[in-house]
């Protein structure tokens, strides 16, 4: 009876496997605490997984999730019963901090800082301010990102061009290449990247979403100008740009589809990876300028924070201080060109040499500001995304579109 034997084997297998299924909570080894960490599966994740092996204070597992699901995953974990494999440490986008703090998902770390004697003045002070709420510090900053100009110096030299220093020159350069059949690579897909680009153009003009009285004003000269620049860049963008997000822009630049583009600096390290890039030796960086030549970032960075439902906050704190320490950050930056929030590193010659885009990013961050932490800012941003998509895809008059956007948001409360 072959069938019976097979059946017996299968049944035995199944029983063994079910037993395995029961003892599955991850077996803690000895006294070393377990720390479960949630990070974004971005260009920094592999390196983070490599360096944690050297952290002696805890047995660290890194769970990296793509950007689209990261927030969902973290939210799910904040509500999980403690001890069911919920995250101890979360890597939080600076734009989410306000929500997380208000909901009590992450814990203040002042007491830990006091007892460990950690000096938080080593971090860029503007960023520390952005993660301090009512005098309580909710994490440690790292991984600064901003959108910068990336160009292929070989092509520019051959064409006798130089890096644009204001928005008019930028449009002229884009047009120059557009008339040759390519154009500027732009993340002009309907989505957050386009909104960030617009915000940066707006801040570089010295403008803001709100006037001095705190009222929404999307029809200010600066906002109209930013929308116009955006529309012109989209018009002279390389074919396909209207469908691109940050990653595709990076691919287009690295495969020489476009000689110039607007890229998120967090992805710039891949330009120097011969496995992915054809422009390793010729890539150069420049600020993304406004009409006056000033370039300002819409500051985004990431924050190491401790989940309020962590079973092991002390080990979690030890881990984040180690991760954000100057030594670990130097190591990561030298290896992977990611920009930390440690002041001293920005002046470190070795770091500057390894990170050709660092000066550009720091210049923009220096001029930059953070997005307002208003409850309905997200509503405005979603509507803005649709309007920008309209400008880019239909070539509609930016002033008209911005006026319509302003009118459509008339009833939204931006007072808190």
């Amino acid at each position: 009876m072959k069938f019976k034997q097979t059946l017996l084997a299968v049944v035995l297998c199944a029983i063994v496997l079910s037993l395995m299924a029961c003892g599955n909570r991850g077996d803690a080894e000895g006294d070393i605490p377990e720390v479960l960490v949630s990070v974004w599966a971005g260009p920094q994740a592999d390196l983070q997984k490599q360096v944690v092996a050297d952290f002696a204070g805890a047995n660290v597992t890194i769970s990296d999730v793509d950007f689209g699901n990261l927030r969902t995953r973290q939210m799910t974990s904040f509500h999980a019963a403690p001890g069911t494999g919920n995250y101890d440490v979360v890597w939080v986008n600076s734009q989410w901090m306000n929500d997380y703090v208000e909901a009590g998902f992450i814990m203040p770390i002042n007491e830990f800082i006091a007892s460990s004697g950690l000096d938080t003045s080593i971090y860029v002070s503007g960023l520390m301010d952005a993660i301090t709420f009512d005098g309580q510090i909710f994490g440690l900053p790292t991984f600064i990102q901003t959108m910068i100009l990336v160009y292929d110096s070989e092509v520019f030299e051959a064409e006798g061009l130089r890096a644009p220093t204001n928005s008019d020159e930028l449009i002229a350069v884009a047009r120059h290449f557009y008339e040759q059949g390519s154009g500027i690579a732009l993340p002009a897909r309907q989505g957050g990247a386009a909104a960030t680009l617009f915000t940066q153009l707006l801040y570089s003009e010295g403008g803001d979403f709100f006037d001095a009285n705190g009222n929404l004003n999307l029809t200010s000269p600066e906002a109209i100008h930013a929308a116009t620049v955006y529309g012109q860049l989209a018009r002279y963008s390389v074919s396909g740009s209207l469908a691109w997000h940050h990653d595709e822009v990076g691919n287009a630049l690295r495969t020489r589809l476009a000689p110039i583009g607007v890229l998120m600096s967090g992805l710039a390290n891949q330009n120097h990876d011969p496995e992915r890039s054809l422009i390793v030796d010729t890539v150069r960086y420049a600020p993304l300028p406004g009409s006056g030549g000033i370039a300002a970032a819409s500051n985004t960075f990431w924050v190491w924070a401790i989940a309020a439902n962590s079973a092991n906050p002390q080990a979690a704190f030890d881990f984040i201080t180690w991760m954000a320490s100057p030594e670990t950050e130097t190591r990561k930056t030298l290896f992977n060109q990611q920009i930390s929030a440690v002041n001293a590193l920005i002046a470190d010659p070795a770091v500057v040499a390894a990170t050709p885009f660092l000066p550009v990013v720091m210049e923009q961050v220096g001029n930059g500001r953070s997005d307002p932490t208003l409850t309905n800012f997200g509503v405005m941003r979603e509507a803005l995304i649709v309007s920008l998509s309209e400008i880019a895809s239909t070539g509609a008059d930016p002033a008209t579109v911005m006026q319509q956007l302003q009118d459509s948001l008339a009833d939204v409360d931006f007072s808190h």
């Binding site: 939210m75 799910t76 904040f78 074919s239 469908a243 649709v386």
Partner: protein, 302 residues
């Protein structure tokens, strides 16, 4: 030697039979009936993610009222219906054409083809979505192929524009599910006696008219069952949209499952999500479920 009746009837009562059915009953009860009732109950409360005491804030029908004013939710229902309709229409059309073709081929040839055709069926819809993301990528193979004919992304914007995003997910679904229709119809075709076709042939009927005069009427039942099954399966579509478009752009391809999932786990509106999914289940039952059960009961009686 035992002589008692092997079977028992309900009136006599018998422990063994109950014991045999009990595990299945318990699983179904605890993992299906109980959650469904609990979910239905919670849809009348205001439940966030907190969950410490879910039955605290009774809000009556507010969640259902909210649905009536939520244009995205209604869009999601409409999208789901469009998806179901488009998916079923396409898979039935391509499935029928291919099944008839395969049936007309020599047996040996179709024996080689059939295993190749079942490959998409074995792949997770999640991966199907991923594969089609590559295909629809602006730098991917579809636009290269269209480029050969002088067409570009402006002619078919694929997943990047709200006008075609839902259609793009439907096409990916066609790719995966058409083989299922082919297999089922092929089995149905095999059950039709050859003599019918011979008689029709003698009457001078061509391939098309014999399809409409013989094949279609005889396969009416099979079509009915796969119509209802496909209806149920497409109405709860999640994975393929999740990985292909995520519901975007601008909610143009959001399905009711996707929307309920994001309400529950992104927006922490647990109870609203439960109201939404209760509505979805209700529609599924009314449109597809009850006809299916009635069909089954009728069949098992005859």
């Amino acid at each position: 030697m035992k002589t008692r009746n092997f079977y028992w009837s309900l009136e006599k009562g018998d422990l063994l039979s109950v014991l045999l059915i009990l595990p299945t009953f318990l699983i179904i009860f605890f993992i299906m009936i109980l959650p469904l009732s609990y979910g239905f109950l919670l849809s009348f409360f205001d439940v966030g993610f907190g969950l410490s005491n879910p039955t605290e804030n009774f809000i009556g029908l507010d969640n259902y009222r909210r649905f009536l004013n939520d244009s995205i939710a209604q869009r999601a229902i409409l999208n789901t219906l469009i998806f179901s309709f488009g998916a079923i229409a396409g898979t039935f059309f391509f499935g029928t054409v291919n099944a008839v073709l395969l049936h007309k081929l020599s047996r040996r040839f179709s024996a080689v083809l059939r295993p190749l055709l079942i490959m998409p069926l074995l792949i997770s819809p999640l991966i199907v979505g991923l594969i089609w993301r590559y295909i629809y990528d602006p730098q991917g193979i579809l636009y290269w192929f269209l480029g050969l004919f002088g067409l570009g992304i402006q002619h078919f914007p694929g997943v990047t524009a709200s006008s075609t995003a839902l259609l793009s997910t439907i096409i990916a679904h066609w790719w995966q599910v058409t083989p299922f229709i082919i297999i089922v119809l092929t089995a149905g075709l095999l059950s039709i006696p050859e003599e019918y076709y011979e008689a029709a042939y003698v009457d001078g009927a061509g391939a098309f008219s014999s399809f409409f005069r013989i094949t279609l009427p005889l396969l009416k039942n099979t079509y009915m069952v796969i119509l209802l099954l496909s209806g149920v399966d497409t109405f709860r579509v999640f994975d393929i949209i999740f990985s292909l478009t995520g519901g975007g752009p601008n909610n143009s391809s959001v399905s009711i499952s996707i929307y309920a999932h994001s309400q529950a786990f992104n927006q922490a509106n647990m109870s609203y999500a439960m109201a939404l999914s209760t509505i979805a289940m209700f529609i599924t039952f009314v449109v597809f479920g009850i006809p299916f059960i009635r069909h089954n009961i009728k069949k098992s009686k005859s």
